[in-house]
Each structure stands twice: as structure tokens, then as C-alpha cells.
Symmetry: D2
Subunit: 435 residues, 4 copies
């Protein structure tokens, strides 16, 4: 975790305090179920909830015990016993450390997913608002970085919106992947603990019982979870790069909000740099990279080894905190994005009408010219414009072969911008359910 | 693609012939829709289907044309015109190359997904069959590679089964991700083509229209697709590594089938190596690695650039062909796996009863010993056994503090294997819906 | 391997024919050494060289034998015996398959490295030539995509040159990493083969003996090799992206060569797209991705397992062939790059002199203004220019606080372009050893 | 950074305090050079060293300023001015933030590399010591996890030693890669700062001037640096996995040191798990993963963008701190590794002499039997042993075809262990320069 790329809401999910609290709840819920099954005294379960519920766990004390026992769950249970007293011997009956650790990790991931889904909702809301504002703001569509044909700025944002809708669905699915609970004892056979304990704890924590847990919850679930985060981060990168392109000096169709007092460069006072979206590009690289060790974690040995654990101590917090921060930063960028329609129009006009070349091509073929010939006719009038020698419309009018097929009026009608926007409503309805 | 790791069914999806056939179908279906809309003559659409449908596209001829035009779709259309004649000018009206390329890629990925799902069904069937065969075959469960407590071999396979069920669901979802069609023209505005053409082509090809396609189908879909393959490959690796462990000389609880005539080593005639599962380990690394460039493909510039294309020429075939091969190899390994229950029992007995240490611990606590004390009592009797000094049951019986709490009969009852298997049926029902 | 991204020189290194020829040479050189040591008859070694040297190995026949024996080296030796006759029993004495396979792989990687180094020399030559052509061609330097201060186009190419010099050094080091030979027998103890055989074969093949080979040559060497390729590919990507940026419609300071007959777009005849450099961007992603499985290959089990083998069947050819193709494509792009100095000048002038803001800042501080105040003064005159309201020089002249410190002549002198180029020669000498 | 996987020596390199101290030194050294060149007063340079050198920079105060200016270097300079007074206006003359940031990062990476190299020396010393202790301790060599032929435990450690020697050389090279300094001003032209300043600062900091720095130090250097760490981590994983295998219950030839008071499992008191090496396996995954974003950082836009910065705030500390911790943990594991020669001998005997099959094969061929026939003869006597039906030597003696070629005495001589160790000294001399 890098503090400057972290929001307290997400950080707190990964704090030691939160972790021990979740451990306690898992143990205490298990005690309830064990008490109902008659395995431990009901009185003991009550005492555990009361004394443990009131306790403030001392992270440093637990660390101290762990340094001796070299085992974190035993250290916690020892500390818990300091609060609970003799009834603490009923805690953790028939359970194994992984029951606590893995169920806790999944609780944390589920909470993290909930935050991330809320973040995506903020991104989606911002995109929708700005998309409708600029539904019909003309701008040039670019393929290969080269002017292609007109689009609207709203369409760009609509594309981003539907992409983030997909990411939202992926995160909802990813949340489902990890919303499981295992209380199955050593190597997962329930030898010393009734499966009904697992069912009870799962229900209380909003999870589903893990069908087969071999002591650990299988890590293909977590691999899928972190892969979903990585894909979402890649979409963040896409939108960030779009904005970085739009803010380029020569393009300048949009700009990150630049606050009073902000300095773009220590050396060059004139600079206004897209530093937020550049930052998002870097953060996306990080979130993406965390998917790899998550996938390498899947192939644990036999019923389990513990190689996944150190990996998850990194990527559990790092991937979720970083993506949470990135999504909020992205939402802020979209919400306050400075958008310059006049500059968009100016850029649209840059190529002297060349962006209408396809329409001319199609008009010629509809007049009976073969596609091959039409392409040749259009290209020979386009290339001088490309070199800055004349504008496209005049050249077409002056081309004998073209004017044989298309009147001046017909040629002019092919340069109408609205022609390109007639299906914007169709697309908006697909994306937003309204236009 | 490495020919030795490729099955013809999957390879053929990626052949040039298949590709051009799909391109033709996309163009011809689009012509039908255009004819219905009155944009092109119905007769032309019929001619295109007839002549193009009967044609055998000449891959080398198309390559030759591409070498001149440096554009693959134009090369194809030029070749198609050689069959179709003058009506070919109605082909590709208002469309852009990406409409053809991207829709074709998705058709190929959907077909590949269908094969992979069928592969998973073969893996699942093999796992289920062998799991029931060995539902109650006792074997040692291992955590950290160290003997833990007894499980059954069927449970191991049940775990794998439910993991591959999840991968099947992931692949079904991944198939949905890429089952889209784009016929939206340059920069995706439908300026020169009616959205109804897209709807028609999509329906005919079993796809859904892409909500916003900006000339290309957005690559977050493909990133999610290849990530799902990567997670599945990681599960293949997990099961492969399990088998490799079981075949180790010192363990030898299971073995890959070794055919007559096979040679394990050119130098050491006695060897029988788990070469298939080692191979699967390597193939899994490859499939996993392809997820990365797929994710880097997401952030195309503006409406599109073409950097994704070269990546997909590699990973489209390589990831699907390799995973298809791996899943079939894995299924074969499971189907014919040599399983040695006697050796499993022998290994189970290896630790002189130590695997029952937890039961003794729990029994002591239930007799009122504190968890801390019980742990200490068990550990002091376990450590000599670990060092090969005595067997666990005798030592316990001879420990004054232990025998104060547990009678000899009680101690003996704690060493019963069936105790561990009482919930096997519960777990099987969770996995297979039957026990 | 994707045929369209492959050059025959590199492909042939990885052909079955080349592989079997190298296998033969390893075996035959080993026979020479064995004959010198008196282990096998000298006559036999001669026969093996004569008959094997004259033989044309039949790839399909070897495949056929392998299908039965399931072992590639045994299949080859069986086929070799068909040429050599009874003396073939002296071949492979005391050796293990890996001696042949691993040494062969390293021979192939060394040859591949030699080609890649030659490729880099072509890239370096192209960059040097164009750098000197444009040593003093003024162009705007950009940080964050925003105009910063003037540079020369030659400086951009000089930067790329020195970066590729570093990559050349990395590949030379990577070549050294894999230039080793192992002829050490099963598990690498030389139990059945004298270390002098290894020394002889190594010398003949231009390799060094592997210090400890445990049957396989350790894969950290190959991981380092493929990592060096991945870093080089990342530099290819950097230069490719630079060119893609320069070719953007709004920038158009340089352009990939566009041949007569080439079509930029099937739909939009006016397009001239940077498709080669976009392609290089994608190829770089692939080469980079191959470093990962190469690193996962390092941790083979005990003395060896064979999981690395399938990985190397992919990445051995794919990484080297793709990078070889990419470097040659890159060299071609640089050699024929269309460079537009007038457009560079036009873009330089775009910001109305703002690019000189730092010089004004420094001049003010040298007149005794505090850095803070100077920054404020410059920024308040820069912001209107950014918004298109006036030019920077006039605004400065009209600012009372500024003109108190700087005369009009002084202000004008701060807008001189040559000021920025006075150290170009210094930098060129650092890079090229000449200016 | 995960605190439990971090050593204070490395952590302190990455503290804010260290960073600001290095920033100060860069600025102050630059002032010296500027004073020598007559650009700023010598007195000012002295004052800056004196007051800045005595200052304790207040991290929170700098953060506070940064929150307003949104620029870290400006915030630092503002804070520095609070100590230095009016002369502070001479600080940072003609420099750009990246001059400070990038040079500082490289200073930190160089220091980190020095620590890592020292760590490797500790690993190497431990491996050498234990290798000589067990130079001739017989143990079974395993290929594919299957018993192959005898090796010594010392040979295993010698292999690891020479692998870590290579990693040491890689880290020395990686250190060289990043040991550069850039003081070249905005876009790297030295327009406002003399190249001699860079030379002076470089020399003082033990760095070399960066040949071309375009404002930033090119990131191919850092990609190569982190790739070297990733390869080293992969070697850590290899050795960790070796130990995990050796500690398996069925193998138990070596064991991590298990301290008094340590608990292997909260549920199973008998467990002694290889948790340190499992942990190293996970840490290796993390260090490996950081190479990827480092490579993606190479392709910055034009002269520079800032997307690399956030990535490096993660991986700069995380990769070096984690690898430093891992190397020290690995050294500790080796130093205290419990090694069980008797168990090694017992395992060696497990296969009833089958591990000598190659020697029998070779002996038969030397008696004139064709390789094919010899293989068949050996395999038919090996397979029953594999199935537990008899021992290899007796079966060979009883095989008519074999005994026709080899006398009983000859057969017995083929089962001699020392035969395999005759070149151990040769190998040790290759690795350690002594035997």
C-alpha cells in the first residue's frame, strides 16, 4: 500500500483491528452453533460473545505472543483467552486456523468488492451525466490516431459507460466467487466439527459454505477475483489514456481540472499536465500485475500449503486499495473534466473535409462506379489535401471523372455532419436505456 | 501453436479457410439485410450467396493480393469479386474492415469456447467416475507436504471436480463476453449502415449486437475471456501437480498410465515418469501468460488502433489450442490413472498414528484440560514419534498425565479411521448432487 | 509463430531439420572425445561422422518412431542407426537425452542471439543516420504530452540510439548466459561419461561447459535470456509509440512510409495509418509476455523435471522470431521514415512562445526576484496564452512587475531557439562518440 | 511493503527522511558546481550546505505544502527555503523536478542493490559451508520426482551455489544499469544548466552521467533492474521448493530448523511444516510480478510522462524490501537446515537397486549387445522391481540372456555407489575453486 494512493474506507478493511474483529466473530458464531449442537455449553458461547465482544484486542500483544509461538491464530486465541477466561477452551473446537483465516479473507474481499462496486457506480454516474451533456457535441473520431469520421463526445463517454457496466457485472461475479465460508477442520473432512457449524457461520456472515475446502478455500476463486480487478484496471487505463490524448497540446479537446494554486512543473510555469490520468495509467499497471501471483497461488500442494499466504498479504490490500483509489480518482476526473467543444470543431475541420471521404466513395458506387474505381477516384483527390494542397470538396468538384457522376449539390450534401449522428439516440438507448 | 500440443478440431477453427468462410458469411448476411432494407438489389444478395457459397477461396491468391494492397479485408473482397462478378460492388456497403474482422474473431472464440466447455465436460466426467470408485479409499491428507489427517482419494477428486465446475461456469461466462457482433461502420456511428443490419447478422451468427463498438469491439471482453482461460489453466496445473506428487517414488499412490513400448528415459530403463502432468504444468504456464497481452490490449487509442491485432493472431489460436489440448490430456490422465490403495494405506501408517493427534487434543480438552495444556501434552508425545522413537498410541498410554484423563479404551477409540469419513457423503452430495 | 511476423533466417534456426542436425553434431563430437579417451573405437567415431554427416534425416520417420517410443531422442537415435549401422551402438554412450536437448537448445538460442544482435546493429545504423540528418532540426519537446521546451529531432533519435545500445549490451550478456554445454549424463554426475567429453563438445560448438548441470542446464539462464528480450521489446514499444504520436493527424511531424498501391482503410480512402508501429506495439506485448513462463521454468523439481520443455517449444521460437521480425520492421520504419521539419516548426510556434516560460522564470530570479514570486509572475502571464488570449512575449512586456525587472530586449532574447541547442554536440558525442 | 517481510536496513532506504536527505544532497552538490561555474555565489552554496545540512526536514510539513501545490519537489524546496533563507533562490537553478527525483531513485536503487548483493553473499557463504559438510553424503538424484541415480547432498548445494553466483553477477550488472545521474533540465537539453553540473553531482554520488535523459532517466534501465530481481527470486523459489520436497513426510531428508516453543498447527500438534520455504515460494511470486509493470514503464510518451512514478512508488520499495527479506530468510534456512544422511541412505535403497539400471545397460552394450536389446533386457528386469516383485540384482543374475553377457561379479560391481561420486571433486572445483 502506498498511502497517497489509498482511501481510509478501504484501508480500514485491511487493518489488524478489523481482521481480529472478524476472527472473533467467526469463532463466536461457531461457538453458537456448537452450543446449539450440544458440543459446548450454551453458557460458554454467551460468555465468549460478551467478553470477547467487549474486548479491545491489543495488536501489539498478539504480535508479541506470535513471536514466540510463530503462529498467528494461536497467538490470537491466547490473547482472546486473556479476556474470556476459562470458557476460552471451548473456542476453536474442531476447527483449524485456515477456517478462521480463509473465511476472514473472504469477508474482507467481499467488503472490498462492495466498496469497489460503489466506486464503479460513482464512475458510471459521472459518465452518464457528462455523456448526456455532450450527447451531440461533434468531435472527430480517430482510428490509429488519424482522423476518421465524426462522432460525438457523448458517444465516447457512452462507450466508456457500457465498458464500466461490464466491469461492474464482472465485479459482482467476482464477489460471488469469494463469498464463501469454510469451517471444515483439518484437511476439510469435518471429522471434528459438524457441517452445520459451517452453515451457521456462513449464514451469519452473508457467505455460502465452500463445497469442498481441504482445509483451505480453493484459490481459483481468488485468482478469478483478482483477474476481474485486473480487467477493470485495464478499462481505467483505457479511459485515462483517452483523456491524456485529448489534453495533448495539439489536440486540447478536454483537460483535467486544474485547481488554483496547483503547479504543473517546477521549471516551466506554463504547464498544465494530465497528471491524474497519467497516474491512473501507472496504477492500472500495478493492479493488473497482481493477477499473476494470484493465479500462481492456485496450484497449492495436496490439501494445502501456505505459499499463497504471503502473496495475499500483499495483493489483498494492494489490489483493492489501489483500484478503489483509482476508480475514485477517475470519477473525479470525469466529473470535473474541462471539455472544449469549439476546439473539437476546429480539429474536425483540420483535414479540409477529408473525413467525409467514405461518403463520397459510397455515393460513387451507388452511381454505378465499381468499388475499386471509386476508391481510386477518392484517394487521388484525398492525397493532395493530406499534403495540405487544397480542400477536398473543391478538388472533387474539379475532378472530371467525379463530376460526371456527382453534381456539385450532391457533393456538398455529402459533407453534412448530422448525417453521422442520426443513430446517436439508438446507441444511447442501448447503453442507458434512454436517449 | 506447437503442433504436438494441438488437436485438429481446435486448429481448424483458426485456419485461414475457416476465417475466410466466416468473413464471407458475415458479408453475405449483411447483404441480405441490406437487400431487405432496399439498399442493394435482392438479386445481388442472392448472387453473392450463390457464387460466394460455391467458391473455394484461394488462400495463396488472397495473400498475393494483400502483398500489394497491404490490407487483408480488401484483398479478400477483391478475391471474392473474382467469383461474384459485378454484383460484388454491393458487398461491404457502409461497412468497415473491423466489422468483418472483429465479428469473425468473436465467432471463432465462441466456437473455441464451445470446444473448451465440451473438454471440461470430459474432465468432469472422468473425475466423477474415479471419485465414486474411490469415494472411501483411505489416504493421508497433507498440509505443507506433511501428513495431516486422513481423507479419501475420492474427496481429492471431488475437490478437483467442483473446481472444474467453477471453471466451466467461468468459461460459459467468458463465452457470453465475446458472443457479440459489430456491423457499425467506421468509428461505429452507423452513419452509412443501418443498425438493423447488425441485428440481422448477429442473429444469424448466434451473437448479440455490440452496444457501442467505435469501429472495434471493445477489448475488455477479450481480456476477460483470456483471463478465464488463464484461471482454468491454473486449475489444470493444480491437479497436474497433485498427480506428480502422488507419483513420486517415495509416495507412489498413483501413476500415469504407462503404455507398453513406452520408454521413460533414454539412459535409465527403470524410469516411469509423470511426463504428461509435467507437460500440463508447462502448458498451464503458457495459457496463463497469454492473459497479460490480452489485458494490455484493452487500452486502444481513441476509437481504435490496431495494436491488438498482432497480439490476437498469437493468443487467439495459441491460448485456445493449448488449453483444449491440455484439458483433453488431463482427462486422459484421469481416466486411465493407476491408483494404488494399498500404498495409500501404507503411507497412512507411516507416522505411527501421529495423524490422530488432533483427536487426542480434543478429547483431552473435553475432559477439562485447557487447550494450552492439552497441546503441550500431545506435542510431547508426538515429537518422539516424529523422531522415530516409538508409536504414538503406546506413548500416550504411558504418559501419566494423559492416562489420568483418558482410559486405554478411550485412547484406542481415537485412532479409528472411519471417524474421519463420516461426512464424505455430505461433501459428495454438495459436489455431485448424490453420494 | 505467426508466419506473417517471421523471417526465414530466424525460422530456420528452429526447424526440425536444424534441430536434428545439431543433435547429430553433439552426438558425433561426443563420439570423437569418447574415441580419444579410448571408450569407443576411433573407427566407429569416423563412421558416425561419415554416415550421419551424409544423411538427410527424415523428420516424419522420426515422428513415427516417437509415436511408438514416446521419447524424441530415442526416436532420433533409432533413425540415426538406420544410416550408421552397427556402430550406432557407440552413440550416446553414458549420455542422457537432456545432454542433447539442452545443449541443442542453447546452440539455437546462441544463433538466435547472433541474429538479434545483427538486427540491433541495423536499428542502430538507421537511428544514427537519421539522427545526424536531423541533428539540429528544431522540434518541441513534450512532457506529459504537453509542449515543454524545444529539442531537436536528432536528439530524440539519439536517445533511442543509446537505449538500443544498452539493449545490444543486454543481448550480448544474454547470449553469454545461454552459451553453455552440458554432457554430464543422468543427474549430472559424469558417472558414465568423462567430463572431458563435455569440454570437447563445448569447444567445438563455441560454448562453455555448464559448471553443474543436474541433468538439465539450469533455467535461471534462460529466464535471464528471455527477460533481456522482453526489455528490448519494451524499447521497441517506446520508439513505436513515439512514431505513432508523431503521425497523429494533429501532430503529423513524421509518418511511416506509405507505398504506392497501399490502402489505409477499406472504408475511408483518405487514411494513412501508422500500422507498422501499431503492429510493433502489439508484438512487444507478446515478447514481453514470454518472460513470465521463462521465469516460472526456473524452479524445476529436484535435479530436474520436464515442465520447462513445453514452455520452451513455444517461447524459444516465438520470442526470438517475433523480436527478430520486430527489430527488422522497426529498422525499416526508421530508415524510410518521412520527417516533416516545417510541421515541427509550426507546432513549436503553437503555444505562442509559452515554451520559453522557464527562461523567463530564471531570468527573473537572476534579477533578484524570489523563485516563488517569479513563478507567480510567469504563470499569470502564461495562463491567458494557454486560453488563446494573446501571445506570451507581448503579455510579459505589458506586465508592470515583469518590465520593472526585464527590458524589452532582454525579454526578446529569452525567446531564442538556439539557446536550447548549444549542448546538442555534447550529447551527440556522448552517444555516437562524434558530433 | 508488508512489515513482517521487511528488514529495517532496507526499509530505511525508502523512508521519506532518506529521500529528502538525498534530494537535499543532489541540490546542494549541484549548487557547488553552479558556484564553481560562477552561476551562483559561492557563499550561497556554502550557506545551503550549512543550513540544509543541519536541518531536520519535517515530512508532515512538506506533505502539507504539497497538498496545496500538488507538486512534491516544489513542496520540498519551499520547506528547504524555510531553513536556508534568501539564498534558497539559488537552489534548483535550471534544474527540473525529474533531475532530483530520478537521480534520487537511482541512488536508492544502488543502495538497495548493495544490500541485496551482501544478502547474496550470506546465502553463498551458507551454501558453501553446508556443501562442503555434505560433499560426499550420498542421496538419490531425482528426475521427474522419480529416483534416477545417486548424487551427493553437497552436489545439490553446489548447484544452488553456482546459480546464486550467477544471480550475484546479474545484480552487479543491474546495479550498474541504474547507477546514473541526470541533471539536464527540462527535456534534457542542458539549456539552462551546464553539463558539468551533472558530471559533478554524478561523481559525488558515485554515479555516471546519463548519456541522454530527456528530462527522465530512461526506464529500460529500471526494467532491466527489476527483471534481474525477478530472476533472482525465481532461484530463491527453486531452492525453497527443493527444501519443501525434502521435508515431505515420505522423504524427510532435510528439515527447516524447528525452534522450541514453535507450533506447527493450531489443530494438529504433531506437525512440523516447512513454512519458511513455503513463505519464500510466495515471496518469489511477488518479486517476479513486479518485473511486469517495470517493463510497461519503459514506453513513456515523448520526452516523458509520469505514469512510471506511481508504479515505482510501489515496486521500488516492495521488490527490494521483499527480496532482501527473502534472501536473508533463505540464508537462515540453509545455515540451520537439519540434514538427515541416514534417511537419505534409506531412500536411496528404496528401489531395490533400480537406480543402477543405466550402468547395467551400458555394461551390456560394451559386451556387444545392441542398445535396443540392452534397453529391453534391462527394462524387463526393472519392471517387476518397480511393482515390488523382487530386487534388481537377483533378477538380473537370474536372467539367462543377461548372465550370458555379464558374470555375477560383474553385475555386483555395477551396484557400487562410489562409481557415481568420482567426479564430485571436479564439480566442486568448478563451483568453489577448490574441492
Amino acid at each position: 500500500m502506498v498511502p497517497r494512493y489509498a482511501r481510509p474506507e478501504m484501508v480500514s478493511i485491511w487493518s489488524q483491528e478489523t481482521k481480529f474483529r472478524i476472527w472473533f466473530e467467526i469463532e463466536a458464531h461457531a461457538c453458537d452453533a456448537l452450543a446449539d449442537l450440544g458440543v459446548i455449553p450454551k453458557e460458554a458461547a454467551r460468555t465468549i460473545w460478551e467478553k470477547g465482544g467487549a474486548a479491545t484486542f491489543d495488536v501489539e500483544r498478539i504480535d508479541e505472543i506470535e513471536r514466540e509461538t510463530k503462529h498467528d491464530v494461536i497467538a490470537f486465541l491466547t490473547h482472546l483467552a486473556e479476556f474470556v477466561g476459562p470458557d476460552s477452551r471451548f473456542v476453536h473446537q474442531g476447527m483449524t486456523s485456515s477456517d478462521v483465516l480463509d473465511t476472514c479473507l473472504n469477508v474482507q474481499l467481499v467488503r472490498a468488492a462492495d466498496l469497489l462496486i460503489a466506486d464503479l457506480d460513482r464512475v458510471l454516474a459521472a459518465l452518464e451525466k457528462r455523456a448526456f451533456e455532450h450527447k451531440l457535441t461533434p468531435t472527430i473520431g480517430r482510428s490509429h490516431g488519424i482522423h476518421a469520421e465524426p462522432v460525438t463526445f457523448g458517444l465516447k463517454l457512452a462507450q466508456a459507460h457500457v465498458e464500466f457496466q461490464r466491469n461492474r457485472a464482472r465485479l459482482v461475479a467476482a464477489r460471488e466467487e469469494v463469498a464463501t465460508c469454510a469451517i471444515s477442520g483439518a484437511v476439510g473432512t469435518f471429522a471434528n466439527i459438524d457441517p452445520r457449524v459451517e452453515e451457521h457461520v456462513a449464514e451469519k456472515l452473508g457467505l455460502k459454505p465452500e463445497p469442498v475446502s481441504t482445509q483451505v478455500i480453493p484459490r481459483d476463486r481468488h485468482a478469478a477475483f483478482f483477474a476481474a480487478l485486473a480487467v477493470t484496471a485495464s478499462s481505467v487505463e483505457r479511459l485515462a489514456i483517452e483523456i491524456r490524448h485529448l489534453q495533448r497540446t495539439e489536440v486540447l479537446e478536454a483537460e483535467e481540472y486544474f485547481s488554483a494554486g496547483q503547479k504543473g512543473s517546477s521549471a516551466m510555469p506554463h504547464k498544465r499536465n494530465p497528471v491524474l490520468t497519467e497516474n491512473l495509467t501507472g496504477l492500472a499497471r500495478m493492479v493488473r500485475s497482481y493477477a499473476l501471483p494470484a493465479m500462481e497461488n492456485v496450484a497449492l500442494w495436496h490439501e494445502r500449503d501456505i505459499s499463497h499466504s504471503s502473496v495475499e498479504r500483499f495483493i489483498g490490500p494492494d489490489a483493492t486499495i489501489t483500484l478503489d483509489f483509482a476508480l475514485n480518482r477517475l470519477a473525479g476526473v470525469i466529473e470535473k473534466l474541462l471539455i472544449y467543444p469549439e476546439r473539437m470543431q476546429k480539429n474536425l475541420d483540420l483535414l479540409g473535409g477529408l473525413v467525409h471521404s467514405q461518403r463520397v466513395l459510397l455515393a460513387l458506387t451507388q452511381k454505378g462506379v465499381s468499388r475499386e474505381d471509386a476508391y481510386r477516384l477518392v484517394q487521388r483527390n484525398a492525397m493532395p489535401v493530406w499534403r495540405g494542397e487544397g480542400d477536398f470538396m473543391s478538388l472533387l468538384k474539379g475532378d472530371a471523372e467525379v463530376s460526371q457522376k456527382l453534381s456539385e449539390a450532391e457533393i456538398e450534401s455529402l459533407f453534412n455532419l448530422d448525417f453521422h449522428f442520426k443513430h446517436v439516440d439508438t446507441i444511447f438507448r442501448r447503453v442507458f436505456g434512454r436517449a
